[in-house]
């Protein structure tokens, strides 16, 4: 009778037939009101009227619960390994292709745009954007870069990606917003490439003398 954690949607558990949905609702309320750091599995379980063990059973870790609550179309923790699977060569283009494969899908884009909107607006729980972005995408990127200034480099990559998101999907600046990804990638990839691996260039003041 016990179903595997991977497909628990219809398992009958104490708390009613939609216990899983109730846990998810409690999790969303808590993440939105208290952010990632202020949310505990225990508090989510209490709010849903279930045992914390059941939350772990359905969703795994707090990170897993967080991702389920955000309804992200892919696991953002998989991005960094995929981007650097073949080394740093071509990583910029691979990151952009992964990015567009998600963001160009209107269904997948919706919760992500909402996350960016509320995160930038500074709404309660807006720290979720930072948690999701930094902890799940850009810290792993920095770890895989393994350079002394890797964290800064990953954040520079984040600036370009965030700006692309805001300009293309939120403000919808044209022509940028209506160009096919294939035409944007050659513009953006060299920027990301330089942030990933480029030398820090000197200021133009070195010209004279």
């Amino acid at each position: 009778m016990t179903r595997p954690a991977a497909s628990p949607g219809r398992g009958r558990r104490p708390g009613g037939p939609d216990t899983r949905g109730e846990i998810l609702d409690s999790a969303r309320v808590s993440f939105a009101a208290k952010g990632y750091g202020g949310t505990t599995i225990r508090a989510v379980a209490t709010a849903a009227g279930v045992d914390p063990a059941l939350v772990h059973h359905y969703f795994g870790t707090k990170d897993d619960l967080f991702l389920a609550a955000l309804q992200l179309p892919m696991d953002p923790r998989a991005i960094a390994p995929a981007v650097f699977r073949e080394g740093v060569e071509g990583a910029a283009e691979r990151l952009l292709r992964v990015f567009f494969s998600v963001w160009e899908d209107p269904q997948a884009r919706m919760p992500l745009v909402a996350l960016v909107r509320s995160g930038v607006a500074g709404e309660p729980g807006g720290g979720l954007l930072r948690d999701a972005l930094l902890r799940m995408v850009f810290e792993p990127l920095a770890q895989l870069l393994a350079a002394g200034d890797a964290r800064l480099r990953a954040e520079l990559v984040a600036t370009q990606m965030l700006g692309l998101i805001v300009a293309r999907y939120v403000l919808e600046l044209d022509p940028l917003a209506s160009m096919p990804p294939e035409e944007l990638i050659p513009w953006l990839a060299p920027t990301l490439d330089r942030y990933f691996t480029g030398d820090l260039p000197g200021l133009s003041a070195t010209d004279d003398g």
Copy 2:
């Protein structure tokens, strides 16, 4: 007794001693509720209980009124001419220096961060961000670039600047947020330079063959 329009703060006018402030309040309410396009000088005047001519007298054009309502620390229309005054050579670095001269001043930054937050959040009147950014900064930049793809280039510059704003001043990602501008400029200037004037590079597929 008539004061020049440049310093009208205390002029006595029909409508009471703080007519100027009342006009400004009406303008803020209207821009926030109806955006730039939906706001008229006439409606602002009516809401403030004054004649439209008085609004023009105090504030000039609708753009001028818009800027006064936003309390921007500088006229964004002056940015593009200043950046290209000495040609496109060094324009990226000049843009970054103008940018940081405003955004590093906490007093000046406050209304700008508010503008970005509400603009990205999609709040009513959030179109102000697009109006202020596009119409006053990036369209003039594109005009001065005078290339066939100038508008796209200006928008690519906008992506990097928007992402910098969000990462440094809104999400406050560290170390990016705590680095002095002098250390960030050499990272960012080559990106803007390439967007301003660089050739469109081909995809990496041209390597083989």
